[in-house]
Amino acid sequence: MPEYFAIVGPGDRPLYESELGRGAWTPEQRELNPFVLHSSLDVIEDLQWQLLPENSDTVSNTGGGEFGGAAQSGAAQGGGGGFLRSHRAKTETDNCYLGRVDHFYGLAVSAYTTYSGLKLLMVHGSGIVDDANCRSFYQEVHELYVKTLMNPFYSAGGSANGSGSGTIGPAPITSRAFDSRVKAIARRHLR
């Protein structure tokens, strides 16, 4: 079954999209896909800031006992609460994969987020999310993104050379190499 995959940056700016998997979307569905993904962004936002129970009492700090709680998170972007972490997360470092986050008339949406505010999402035509394969797919694409950052001509934002306000996030990924590698990763992990 076909999949529709997209990377969305901070401020919900689309950075990359492509159709993966086998089979083709119907023309109607193809037009609908971006909207399905977009409507899932809110769900992810909610999940992202959901405090994990075991995190609430283990703020590590030595000295300054009043740290951690209200005073700090108030200053953090987003206000009250913790930063994501799926209940499927196995370890502290495997906590970006959110699994199935939404569904829409027989379609399923899965997602993966990064600390830098990137959201990776996929509409699954089959309506089924195979967690093991999906997690591998997302992790490899994430790794690919980190390699893309090594390309000095790709801007991750934050460059304020007089032009622009300097608050814009990562640029859209237009590299053809990136595109073909994403498709290769998909062939390995998605059916």
Partner: protein
């Protein structure tokens, strides 16, 4: 002296094999034991960001970007040579051939942990190429469309060599002749000796 017309220097150069081995061992040992190291990817990221910013500042005038990168390298080279001589305590090279081996087996090894191949000696034996497989500073780099064929991404290396060799009285032209980033088979830097700056040796040395 570097005009290397000596008969012992045939092209296959067997007489020099032990010397080359010694230089390689010296480079390897210095790299392994006397050098504080940093992940190469941070260096590549930093250097690449400098290149990208220059491309933006000079709005695609890549000749100027190349010149600026060369200048950065030159500034580095004139100082790196001091560090190099202090670490290796190598004496003055008596032939340009030896210079080429020191550059490849010791200098590149100690500073960048690379050993480019020395190749393409000309008949006059005053010019050789340093051959790298991939462009050594450009892993993951994708040039913007207009830059291909104009920008020498790693031109800083030419500046470093030019500056460092000048400090040991070797006036050389150093330039890229090919680059895998441009679709060439290998990345080659040509080093051509113009003259030995004997007159500028300060009194009291040598």
């Amino acid at each position: 002296m570097p005009q290397s017309r000596s008969s012992s220097l045939s092209s296959s150069n067997p007489a020099n094999a032990p010397q080359v081995r010694h230089l390689k061992a010296l480079g390897d040992d210095t790299w392994k034991n006397k050098v504080e190291k940093v992940n190469a990817e941070f260096f590549h990221l930093t250097y690449g960001t400098i290149v990208a910013q220059l491309c933006e500042e000079y709005a695609g005038d890549y000749a100027r970007v190349n010149g600026e990168l060369f200048q950065i390298g030159y500034n580095l080279g004139v100082r790196l040579i001091e560090d190099f001589l202090a670490r290796t305590a190598l004496p003055r090279c008596d032939t340009f051939l030896k210079t080429s081996e020191v550059v490849s087996k010791c200098a590149f090894k100690i500073f960048l942990n690379l050993t480019p191949e020395v190749a393409h000696w000309n008949a006059a034996r005053d010019s050789f190429d340093l051959v790298f497989g991939e462009n050594p500073l450009a892993e993951h780099v994708e040039l913007p469309p207009g830059a291909s064929g104009q920008l020498w991404f790693s031109n800083v290396l030419c500046g470093v060599l030019r500056g460092a060799l000048e400090m040991v009285q070797l006036d050389c032209d150093v330039e890229f002749v090919s680059d895998t980033l441009r679709g060439d088979m290998s990345t080659d830097i040509r080093v051509k000796l113009n003259k030995v700056l004997r007159d500028e040796i300060p009194a009291g040395e040598d």
